[in-house]
């Protein structure tokens, strides 16, 4: 049955949500048939290059008004390891990024209780000043909604100001799982699904592209994941604004939903592989799928590159969010190691920009 389904998808028929659910539920060596089909589609759609971006990550603060249950990064004011980088610290990091020749600065942060639209726009401006050659990949629909609320603006106005200040693309994070029942449990303080969708569409239609993400492996079911993918595909049909899809495997260790026993201990290897493979087969309108070495390690990331993924993400140079949840070794992956990973698969490593152009 799975074989027949895969053959039809390979022949060009669009997968239904129910079929995605069926594939997510594969447990035996069917997983390998699904991976092989996904790899074939990856090759047809994205070619053989394994891409990566030289980027610098920057998290300005870990102080957050929310306390999402899956997060080990957020802190409250007064917590011993709470921080808010002052302008000098931010500038220093940006200068380092410029010296490193990164093509992208990637920044999201906690929702600091004092932040207004000025803080977000100001940061973008500062990045443009200090690293004018870098693409600014910043914020996410949650931050946009927060800035709008804090400053009494529409999200459209916030996005306008961000774009004017130099925003290149939005991070498609804060998606988590686009099912309100799940959101109510794992991140009740975050915007609901409809609002996330609205803001992403708004950004896309204003000429601000974004990534698409999913954060899975906690309390979500296969049906939830299929639903989430269906929502992303629908947005992409309408806007074409997603540059890539980035599955983010839940890191449980220090997070409240795990330590309280509510969530499972992250996705299994099977679930990770199927996330890559099924999303590649289902998201026929998104060209690039990123294997997150930060979350699943380099061995699994390489396997993912043979199961639908084509991109290895960024060099990062600094990473605190996954680390806060208990992941280790997340700060930096050297392009030499990325090259080894790619060439071991007989594929070339290519540096790309945020928007997937080649870097000269």
């Amino acid at each position: 049955m799975i074989r027949a389904l895969l053959d039809e998808i390979l022949a060009g028929r669009r997968m239904t949500e129910a079929e995605a659910l069926t594939l997510f539920s594969a447990r035996g060596r069917d997983v390998w048939a699904i991976a092989a089909a996904a790899d074939q589609v990856r090759q047809e759609r994205a070619g053989d290059a394994v891409t990566y971006v030289r980027n610098q990550n920057l998290n300005v603060t870990n102080i957050c008004i929310n306390t999402c249950g899956f997060c080990g990064f957020c802190r409250k004011i007064g917590d011993p390891d709470a921080y808010l980088h002052d302008p000098a610290a931010v500038v220093s990091r940006l200068r380092t990024a410029r010296e490193r020749g990164v093509t992208e600065i990637c920044t999201v942060s906690g929702l600091h209780l004092d932040f207004t639209v000025e803080d977000y726009v100001g940061l973008i401006r500062r990045i443009r000043e200090e690293a004018p050659a870098a693409h600014i990949h910043a914020s996410n629909p949650q931050e946009v909604a927060y800035a709008a609320r804090r400053s009494g603006l529409s999200t459209r106005e916030v996005l306008d100001r961000m774009k004017e200040a130099g925003l290149g693309s939005l991070c498609g994070t804060a998606a988590e799982i686009l099912v309100d029942g799940v959101r109510r449990e794992i991140c009740p303080g975050k915007i609901e699904t409809a609002e996330w969708v609205r803001i992403v569409r708004e950004a896309h239609l204003m000429g601000i592209p974004s990534t698409a993400t999913i954060m899975y492996g906690h309390i979500d079911t296969a049906a939830d994941r299929a639903r989430h993918l269906a929502i992303l595909r629908e947005i992409q049909d309408e806007t074409g604004g997603f540059t890539e899809f980035v599955p983010l495997s839940f890191i449980p260790w220090t997070t409240p939903i795990y330590t309280s026993g509510r969530a499972r201990a992250g996705a299994t290897g099977r679930e990770d592989l199927l996330m890559y493979a099924v999303s590649r087969l289902f998201l026929d309108n998104i060209v690039h799928i990123q294997a997150s070495w930060v979350k699943i390690g380099t061995k699994m990331a390489q396997i993912a590159l043979m199961a639908g993924a084509d991109d290895l993400g960024g060099t990062m140079f600094e990473e605190s969010i996954s680390k806060g949840a208990g992941a280790t070794g997340t700060d930096y992956l050297d392009p030499a190691e990325m090259r080894r990973i790619a060439e071991d698969l007989g594929r070339p490593l290519r540096e790309r920009t945020t928007l997937y152009r080649a870097v000269r």
């Binding site: 290897g269 099977r270 390690g297 061995k299 190691e337 007989g346």
Partner: protein, 362 residues
């Protein structure tokens, strides 16, 4: 998929005994054909070992880290004069053994340096320390390198040494110190260890005396695909003759804190592709082995689960300690709770089953 690989896989599934050359071919596959190889291996796993994912409730015992070998791929071994060198005595070893007993282990696994001063008597003594405290437990100890060393130091034959170790309480031999059974590779990665021919001889001696052993391969440092295939061929030939191997234990090289890597001689370990293929090709090639173990401590639990779908059927032991893997650079490689193992197995729709060292039911 080229017909050649597809044909080879279907022939192997039909009962063709894979040649060494064919193993090299499969190990070198770089594209999605590896999924066909994994799939075929999973089919063979199902036929040979059934659906159970097995594990052993065991305890590793590190008695000393002082070692005559100081192999380049190791971060654990020390010279006696090193500041963090140690050697435990009877009290400490028995305390650890009692601890292990409290945990309900069925196996105690010696994982130590090969102290230059050890003799056959030393090993007899250490084995008795544990046997006295844990009479029913399988003492899984001594590699062929240790047997050779102990025999030489005591001026006896390896057969005699094995007999004495068994009399002292040895249950099963460790098929470690195999690394890669190609002397040209051993010259580079572990020049002070037992040579291939002696390793083979001693393992056969043990098997023929009724002492079973694991078989191991430590891959991803310096060796080539051809070396790996050669190694598997040697193990298969021994098994044809003796039937004494209980399992193949696959050990990916952990590189970070090891001299070989720091000297630029070894590569930074195996890639995920190599890990999956090593498991799958071992399963397909070693048609006379029932059990293939994936090392969760070395590849992590996600990769370990993937490997359980690619030919492996066993998750090894709970261990409770593994300073050898940890000191080479792997984080948290020392304990995996059976509840986590159960989750891994049941997520594949397979039952977790506790086994003994020799793969009986615990």
């Amino acid at each position: 998929m080229t017909d050649r690989i597809r044909t080879l896989l279907s022939d192997t599934l039909a009962g063709h005994r894979m040649t060494e050359e064919e193993a090299v071919t499969l190990l070198g596959v770089k594209d999605r054909r590896i999924w066909a190889i994994a799939s075929a291996a999973d089919e063979v796993r199902e036929q040979k070992a059934g659906d159970a994912v097995t594990f052993v409730l065991n305890q590793n015992l590190h008695i000393t880290n002082i070692c005559k070998n100081l192999c380049g791929f190791c971060g654990f071994g020390r010279k006696a004069t090193d500041p963090d060198a140690y050697m435990l005595g009877k009290e400490q070893v028995q305390a650890q053994a009692r601890n292990a007993g409290g945990r309900g282990v069925t196996e105690v696994c010696f994982l130590s340096g090969v102290h230059p001063a050890f003799t056959t008597e030393s090993y007899e003594e250490m084995i008795r320390w544990v046997a006295d405290v844990l009479p029913g437990v399988d003492i899984h100890a001594c590699s062929p390198d240790e047997v050779l060393h102990a025999a030489k130091r005591s001026g006896i034959s390896t057969v005699e040494a094995l007999e004495r170790l068994r009399a002292a309480g040895l249950g099963t031999l460790q098929g470690t110190a195999a690394e890669i059974l190609v002397d040209g590779v051993r010259d580079v990665i572990c020049p002070k260890k037992v040579r291939t021919a002696d390793w083979v001889r001693i393992i056969k001696e043990a098997h023929q005396m009724g002492i079973r052993s694991s078989g191991t391969i430590m891959y991803g440092s310096y060796e080539s695909d051809a070396d790996r295939a050669r190694h598997l061929a040697i193990l298969r030939a021994i098994q044809d003759e003796t039937g004494g191997f209980t399992e193949l234990v696959t050990l990916p090289y952990i590189h970070q804190h090891t001299p070989l890597y720091q000297a630029g001689i070894a590569r930074p370990g195996s890639t995920g592709r190599e890990d999956v293929l090593l498991i799958a090709v071992s399963r397909l090639f070693l048609d006379n082995f029932q059990n293939v173990q994936v090392s969760w401590g070395k590849v992590g639990t996600k990769m370990a689960q993937a490997c359980l779908l690619a030919g492996a059927n066993d998750l090894g032991g709970t261990m409770f300690a593994d300073a050898v893997t940890v000191s080479a650079g792997a984080d948290e490689a020392d304990y995996l709770d059976p509840a986590a193992m159960r989750r891994i197995a049941e997520d594949l729709g397979r039952p977790l089953v506790q086994r003994t060292t020799t793969y009986g039911r615990a």
